[in-house]
Each structure stands twice: as C-alpha cells, then as structure tokens.
C-alpha cells in the first residue's frame, strides 16, 4: 500500500513520485533508518547517489560513542563474556534497564556459566538508580544521593582510584567506599551504560577507570544497544564508507559531522530539502521529525501520518528475515521472520528501485 499526498496510490506511481522528489533535491537526508542491514546498505547507496546525508533516529548516542572511540579508543566486552565471567557489573544510570528491562535476568541466569576468573560472589551495583530485583545468588547495591549521574560516576571513579575528595553526605560516602573497594577487588568488573544517556566526558571517565583497572586486573565496558538496529546500521555505515551515521556524501570524500548532519537540525534550518524516513522494524517504531518534503518507508504506515509519499514496506524480522545487531552476540546476526510476508517490498527493494528510477532519468 502506498499514498501520495495522502491519496492512495499504486506502488509504481509512489516510487515515481519519490524519485521525482529526491531527484530534484539539493540535499536530501535519509533518516530514521529503523531497518535491517540490507536496508541500511541500500540507504547508504542511495545517499551516495543523491549526494545526501544519512542519520539514524538514535544518532545522538551512536555519534557520542563513535567520537569517544575514535578519540581515545574503547575497552568493550561482549555480552557473552559479561554474562559468563563478570563478577561485578556496574549499571550506570537508568538507560540500560530502560533499553532492556530484562537485562539483569539475562546477565545473571541461574544456570552455571563458563569458568570465570576469581571466586567472588557475583554482584550488581546500580549507580544512580534504585535496585531492581536480582537472582538470589547475585548481591546488589544501589548508590544514589543528591548527586547527579555525572557526579556519581566521577565520585565512583575517584573511589576506585583511592584519590582524595570531600563530600558531606556520609551515607553516600560509605556506599561509594564500599563500591570502590569491591571494584578494586573484582576479577572482572564491567561498567554498563547507554551512550544516549551519558555525555562524552562521562563516558571518558568510565573508560579511564577501566584503563586504570586493566593495569592490574580485568575490566571492561558494555554499552547497551541503540534502538532501531542503530548499532547494526552504524556498523554497516562504517564498513561501507569508513564513517558512522551522520555522514554526508555530497562531496568527493564522505564527511562525518555529528552536529551538521543531524536530521532534525538539517530540517529545522532548511539545509536539507528532502527527507527519506525509514521506520520498518518489527516491534519498534520511531517518530518522524517535521520539515522538508518527505518519502516515508514504514511498516506501520498508520504511524507515518502524512508524508508526501508514504510506502508501506515489510517489517524487518516480522515480514522478512533480517540481519540485525543482536545484543546477545554483540554483533550482527540473522533473525527469522515471524510470518514471512512476501507481498510487501522490503526497504532495500524500495530504495533500490528508487535509485534505479533516478539512474534511468539521469541516463
């Protein structure tokens, strides 16, 4: 099903209309990108053809993590390693459990895991949030107080290093001391955070703490996956053009700029004069920003409201098998479709056809 200006239309004419709109655009942005790897690859190819930009609806967190990575590196551990081997898991902020409410259960299953270093009882420290239920064999504690999350991260880091600082809140102080000592004595402490929740300097302090700990013991970070296959799309962008999302293909050399190529800014300022909005993942949705003339590819067109062109597409992992970033393997895996629906085109199909139409016109 497709609509053009709110009127129902045949897929072919919707594609023609999309090709018109994009073929004319000075600087289109392909945003949202709630799609699988083949959708992302097609989006990148189209952006390159159009000289446009790509962004993801979770681009802020992705760009932050990318930036910290390329400026100082990173020390991640895979989900499997954390699940099997971490004796101390520090959950930083509310983001991780908001992203995955079952995270604790997944990290601490009842079944025995792989051999792990040390013989500490496993423990979770919740930093900046209240305790949630943990299995019986896992201890837990929560560190909260008047201090904000960035302050708590700094205080805990200082405590791990046993450096000097003064705070009046004695109760908080005691908790921090205990947590600091526990982390120092851990065989493998892992800090879990959501890059969309904490800013670069805070991430940096966590990474510095890990880099300090690994001088003598094992430690790592684990970031929770971005919504909408953000990590998968970001990886695909990176192997395609060497850069994360928020990259422009307008010129000879692709350029990444987390500020300049953010979808909403591009639309607000009018620098982007067309938008392709992609929202086609089973079980997830994202809200389209307003601004330029828009081609919407959505698996729930009802949600899409009125775009200039709205094309209903198959949902990745719902209507078709899809390669997606999967947290449990900390990488890209394949998810079988619940109920394969071959009637609807995939994001990759639609974008590829639009690209072909544009090629045909330019020929």
């Amino acid at each position: 099903m497709a609509t053009v200006k709110g009127e129902e239309a045949e897929l072919d004419s919707a594609l023609e209309r999309a090709a018109d709109l994009l073929g004319r655009a000075r600087f289109p942005v392909i945003g949202g990108l709630f799609t699988d790897i083949s959708g992302a690859a097609a989006a990148l190819a189209l952006a390159e053809k159009l000289g446009g930009a790509v962004d993801h609806a979770a681009g802020t967190g992705l760009s932050r993590a990318s930036r910290v990575m390329r400026e100082t590196g990173a020390t991640p551990a895979s989900f499997g390693e954390v699940r099997n081997r971490a004796d101390t898991v520090v959950v930083i902020g509310k983001g991780p459990l908001e992203r995955d409410p079952d995270l604790i259960a997944k990290l601490f299953p009842g079944k025995p895991g792989l051999p792990r270093p040390g013989d500490n009882q496993r423990e979770v420290i919740f930093l900046g949030l209240d305790k949630v239920r943990t299995p019986r064999h896992v201890r837990s504690s929560s560190i909260r107080g008047r201090a904000s999350l960035p302050e708590l991260v700094a205080l805990l880091a200082a405590n791990v290093r046993e450096t000097r600082f003064d705070i009046r809140d004695k109760a908080l102080c005691t908790k921090l001391n205990r947590a600091g000592e526990r982390i120092r004595k851990s065989a493998f402490a892992v800090f879990v955070y959501d890059p969309a929740e904490i800013e670069e300097p805070v991430m940096h302090t966590v990474l510095e703490t890990v880099r300090h700990l690994v001088l003598t013991t094992r430690a790592a970070i684990m970031t929770v996956a971005a919504p909408g296959n953000g990590d998968g799309v970001n990886l695909c962008s990176t192997w395609t053009c060497g850069l994360p999302v928020r990259t422009s293909f307008a010129r000879e050399v692709p350029e990444h700029d987390a500020w300049a190529y953010e979808t909403e800014r591009l639309l607000e300022t009018g620098e982007a004069d067309a938008l392709v909005w992609i929202d086609a993942l089973e079980g997830e949705g994202t809200k389209r920003p307003k601004g330029a003339p828009t081609v919407v590819l959505s698996s729930s067109p009802g949600r899409a409201s009125k775009g200039d062109v709205v094309i209903e597409v198959a949902s990745a992992a719902g209507d078709h098998d899809a390669a997606l970033y999967l947290s449990p393997i900390s990488g890209i895996g394949m998810v079988k479709a619940g109920k394969a629906n071959k009637d609807k085109p995939t994001v990759a199909d639609v974008l590829t056809r639009i690209a072909e139409l544009i090629d045909a016109r330019n020929a």
Binding site: T163, P201, H204, E271
Partner: protein
C-alpha cells in the same frame, strides 16, 4: 596592496565550506580563479563567485563581510596571514590552524579553534559547543595558540585540549574543560555544570567563584601563583587587561581520572 575582500551576496541555502579561502591557497590566483573555487556542500555546485563579491588583492590579509552562521571552516588550517570577519561564522573557525590571526566581529559556531596548534583566533561575541575541542580525525583538541571569546560559549569548551590558552569573557557552558589533557582556560563569566570533568592536567582559571564545583575537585587552599602574574603580564602584551593578581584558591582534580589538573579561583 589592498586586502582581499569577500563580500557575501545573499544568505546561501546551503552551508559553505570556506576552507579554501586562506592565504596559502589564494596567493597568486587571479580573481577569476578565486571566483571559480567551489565552496558548496551539496550536490548543487556553488562557487565563490556565486556567493561572494570579490574585491582587492592581498591574500595575506583577507576580509569577509556580511557572513553568517552557514560560513563554515573560515581560516581552517591557516598557516599564516590575517583574516578579518565582519559577521557571524559557522563551524570549525580556524580549525587545525597552525599560525596567523583570525578576528571575528560576530559569533562563531561549533568547534571554533578545534585542534588548532598555533596562531590567534579572536571572536568578539559567542562561540558554540566544543570551542578548542577536537576536530574530526584528531585525538586531541586545541594543541597550541590563543583563542579569545568575548561572549559566552557552548558546552565542552576546551574538550581534550592539550596545550594553549583560551580566554572567555562571558559564561562557558557545561563541561568546560571536559576531558582536558593540559592547557589553560581563563573563565571570566563562570561556567555551567561539570567544569573540569575528566580533567587530567591543565588549568581552569576562574576570575570569580563558580557556582557549581565538581565534588571530585579537592581544595588545596589559597596561595600565591607567580604564574598568574606571568599570565596577566603576557595578556597585557596582547592588549587584554585582565586583573589576575597572584593569589588564588587552588582545587585539584579531576580525582576521577589523573587528578593533576587544577581550578584556580582568584582570591
């Protein structure tokens, strides 16, 4: 010989990459050549001639008149000569510059003076986020030189700065001096939250007591700092009269990381 002048015609409908318009690249070019330089950032071709009226000759002294916040990368990689801007500028003003001088009468966008290693950038009004921060592909922010901002700055001023001096007349945003490795920020109008977050070495000099101080900065009390006298006199040599005196309260931090940096709060 008269200065080379770029007078902006209309507000452009795309961002402009003005990095080619530096003395090194323009020396010896005819006006026609200069007008043909492409500065667009979309697939729609846009040349200097489309966007600017070009006057004058001397590429060692370049003037931009009537620019706005879409004029990016003015003076990027500048290696010498002078650039004067009457107007606002976009992102990456003077980014990666190594020498020379840039003066902007208006405000600058994000990443002003990013990863610059030498020279002087003077912004009369405000600067966006990450002034003196790391340019793309660099692991560090400002690595030398002198950046002055008359007004306020956005967040992350001096982020991962390695060396050099930044003086801010107005208020700095959140995380001023965040992840800073070394170098000096002089903050005359205070800062937002989390100043000095992740500071390794380096100095944040506050002329007045800041509102928020991170708990991981540790008080060393008040004492004399001959360095402040040296800095005050050096600044006077550049035409900036800022009373620093010699006495300051020293807080050391950020204890969350290396903890060898400082806030000097003038006494």
């Amino acid at each position: 010989m008269s200065a080379l002048v770029f007078e902006m015609k209309d507000t452009p409908d795309q961002r402009l990459d003005l990095s080619p318009l530096v003395p090194e690249r323009l020396n010896g070019l005819s006006r026609k050549d200069i007008q043909a330089i492409e500065i667009g950032t979309t697939r729609e071709t846009l040349t200097v001639g489309d966007a600017f009226k070009v006057k004058g000759k001397n590429a060692q002294e370049i003037h931009f008149d009537g620019t706005d916040e879409r004029c990016d990368k003015i003076g990027a990689k500048l290696a010498g000569g002078e650039i004067f801007v009457d107007g606002d500028v976009g992102s990456q003003l003077g980014a990666r510059m190594t020498d020379g001088k840039i003066e902007v009468k208006g405000s600058a966008g994000v990443l002003a003076g990013a990863s610059m290693t030498g020279g002087h950038v003077a912004i009369r009004r405000d600067a966006g986020d990450q002034a003196a921060g790391p340019a793309f592909g660099e692991t560090m922010g400002m690595k030398g030189g002198f950046l002055t901002i008359g007004g306020d700055t956005g967040a992350l001023l001096g982020e991962r700065m390695r060396r050099g001096l930044v003086v801010v007349g107005g208020k700095a945003g959140d995380y001023a001096g965040g992840r800073m490795i070394a170098g000096t920020l002089v903050l005359r109008g205070g800062a937002g939250r989390y100043a000095g977050y992740g500071l390794r070495r380096g100095s944040l000099i506050f002329t007045e007591k800041p509102k928020d101080i991170l708990p991981t900065f540790s008080d060393s009390g008040v004492m004399e700092f001959d360095y402040l006298l040296l800095l005050e006199k050096w600044l006077r040599g550049t035409g900036m009269r800022i009373k620093l005196g010699g006495r300051a309260r020293r807080l050391m931090g950020d204890m969350a990381v290396l903890g060898k940096g400082e806030m000097l709060i003038l006494a």
